[in-house]
Symmetry: C2
């Protein structure tokens, strides 16, 4: 437990004074994205000289990882991801550096060719269910392809499955749903066993309906009481439903964001379908980066040890946020936040109409938060209530400042105190913008 | 100049005897793809431990290459590619490990969204011009998207520009053309200055017509008298035509195939269009692999020195092929081959109807060549005449054997000598298959 040295001010006057102080101080902090901090990146320093000049880069079957080939990735990389996701190696395609890219390409493939013999989505009316608040970049993909997005409420157990079932089982234009089932972005909740079972049992009206199960935070615990997620693939297989699932994950937050290895996992039929595009798209993924990762993290045990080192860095930051909110926001009407056991985010809910105001105030004082609304389809939070808090990137001293300022901004937004002409309080994000 | 120790046999009887000898010997050689040999891969061994654990991985502006960001790639990587391609850094997007993937994605973007405000190609009648013989994987992309491919004859100066102009300037459904302008795959020719100028001057009927200029072999000389290629982008810009050009290249045959860095370069308007997709598709390319490359090859001079080392390995192989063909095939009616100054291929033309037969005979005896027909759209060589010879991957002793066998196969195919029940001489490839 980290002790914060400054106490959160209690009166609005104090908030205002503090806010103006920060604004004058030329603060420059960015908490807009779920980015690992520098000391987390340092945990993977070994990768920078791997596989090493003495490494033959050869597989047992004689394949030279330095040359062309293997569109589904290195067998050992597929096996490691299989263990992480709880599937078989032949279910896994190990790809490039971005699971987002694999999700995008999967939707693009459905768009241009249809899924497993189904009609191409281009020219069709296609809808996706979007548990919200959710991951802005998921919503960006479906928006890019002109897919209609439907907000689905998400609670402590996951998406509202009554609503999900009603849509999926009655509307043939509903072709997919975006899910971050463990330590959900941004609420940090993990889907309950019953939620997962209801996903597995879905009887979609559309043959080409798919669950996009983005298990980004599968090993990303920050607590002694980590959440457990039921294995959707197993459950779906039991119901003869394995084909409705696409699983995704990556090492972006295990090793280096943007220089890790990503994968998609699915049923044999879906894997065959995915490879039917990949074989035209590329001669193969970067096998040397896969080999590099395997040299540093040869098995699940090594990955778990790495995650424990991440946790040691992240956990105090989450504790600092929760403690600051406890001190500065507790008891305020309509204000609540999540207390996740893992992942990268805490979700802060304010009374209706306050989120964009608080974010704008923060920006004005030099603290960039995730744009209000970004966690909803089309960048529009119907309540303008949700703020995604991403505590990992700043150092602890920076985070402490950021939290003090953030709490000022929230309290000022709640009290509608005007104190600066240049902040347009009523402003709502008109257009969905992908933050850089 | 490498001396071959065995003399090519002169009579058909000798060919037949030699062929049966090879067939019985359990030979296993693969010359199907333009793959660098092991000693070429060894030239980039330094990459295996770069950037190194002491490298801060920081850019001048403070960006940490280990973290997320920079969707257009590292500025220094963009600058290096710009120098290689003869454009400005802001024209370049440095991406992942595969220029094929960038070409595929560019077509996919046109298919789903249209080019620069044009109509999406999905649902439209779209045609591409395909100088043939050409690169099978180009044709694979257009076939994947259901784009009609039109064969364009290619000669010593490049594609037949009379035909190209007629199509491009009169048919609004012609949206693109595939070009490998330098050391063309597979003929090895380089487009003449006049050909490049005629490309630059094209007045396409379709606003969204684009030249896909795949400059894979831009620095890949194997001769003291290398070819020079006029700068298409400059020429097009002079005509106010810069927007009709997409340039592609990669380090696949400079460093490691499949673990290099690829790029696309284009006009500001086109770059903006490309990034409008990329920003939804990924948070950024693998910047560490770009940094790794920059540490080993910081500037064009270093790249040229690397290419000289490649040349020292490749040139004797090309000389061996040309010398073997000279000895074994010269004077045979209807048989000719190219003598490239660079690139990865020699193109061998046989009399009509002989190519698939020769390739099948070779396969029967353990030598895998590029499937006959693969160098034409839909895998169909209208003449069944062209064989792509890829001499780089085998060692010199292996290549010597392969050539002796290949010449036997060609001569037997020409003479229609039957000698094995299991070879179906008349067989034509029915379906276009992407070789693994």
């Amino acid at each position: 437990m980290v002790r914060r040295e400054t106490k959160i001010m209690q009166t609005i006057e104090q908030c205002k004074e503090k806010y103006e102080h920060y604004k004058a101080s030329g603060l420059k902090l960015d908490m807009s994205r779920g980015k690992p901090a520098v000391d987390q990146l340092d945990l993977s320093r070994a990768l920078l000289s791997l596989p090493g000049q003495d490494d033959g880069c050869l597989l047992e079957n004689g394949v030279d990882c330095r040359n062309y080939g293997l569109p589904a990735g290195l067998p050992a990389m597929r096996a490691l991801f299989a263990e992480i996701l709880g599937v078989q190696p032949e279910n896994v395609i190990a790809g490039g550096n971005s699971s987002l890219n694999m999700m995008f390409d999967t939707v693009a493939q459905a768009f241009s060719k249809g899924i497993c013999g189904g009609r191409p989505w281009c020219g069709e009316k296609v809808k996706f269910l979007c548990p919200a608040p959710g991951y802005d970049r998921h919503f960006g993909i479906t928006e890019y392809f002109g897919i209609e997005m439907i907000n689905i409420p998400i609670g402590a157990d996951g998406p509202d499955m009554d609503i999900v079932e009603r849509y999926v089982e009655n509307d043939a234009s509903v072709k997919g749903i975006w899910c971050v089932p463990k330590y959900s972005n941004p609420t940090g909740i993990t889907y309950s066993d019953e939620t997962v079972r209801r996903f597995a049992r879905l009887k979609p009206k559309a043959d080409d309906f798919r669950i996009f199960w983005d298990n980004s935070y599968v090993l990303h615990d920050i607590s002694n009481t980590p959440d457990t997620l039921l294995n959707l693939y197993d459950e779906a297989e039991k119901c003869g439903n394995a084909d409705i699932v696409f699983l995704f994950t990556s090492t972006s937050k295990i090793t280096f964001p943007g220089a890790g290895v990503a994968c998609v996992a699915a049923s044999p039929k879906n894997v065959e379908w995915l490879l039917s595009r990949i074989q035209y798209q590329t001669i193969g993924p970067d096998k040397l980066n896969q080999l590099r990762h395997l040299r540093m993290l040869p098995d699940l045990e090594a990955v778990r040890a790495q995650m424990a080192r991440h946790r040691a860095i992240i956990q105090p930051k989450f504790e600092m946020v929760l403690s600051a909110f406890e001190d500065g926001l507790k008891g305020l009407s309509g204000v609540s936040w999540t207390k996740p056991n893992g992942g990268y985010f805490i979700s802060l809910d304010l009374p209706r109409g306050c989120a964009s105001r608080a974010v704008a105030l923060a920006k004005e004082a030099g603290l960039v938060l995730t744009p209000a609304g970004a966690t909803f389809p089309y960048g529009r939070d119907p309540e303008d209530a949700n703020i995604r808090v991403a505590p990992t990137y700043p150092s602890l001293p920076e985070l402490e400042k950021a939290l003090e300022l953030m709490i000022c901004c929230v309290r000022l937004a709640l009290n509608k105190i005007e104190f600066s002409d240049s902040v347009n309080f009523g402003q709502r994000l008109q257009k969905y913008q992908i933050p850089t």
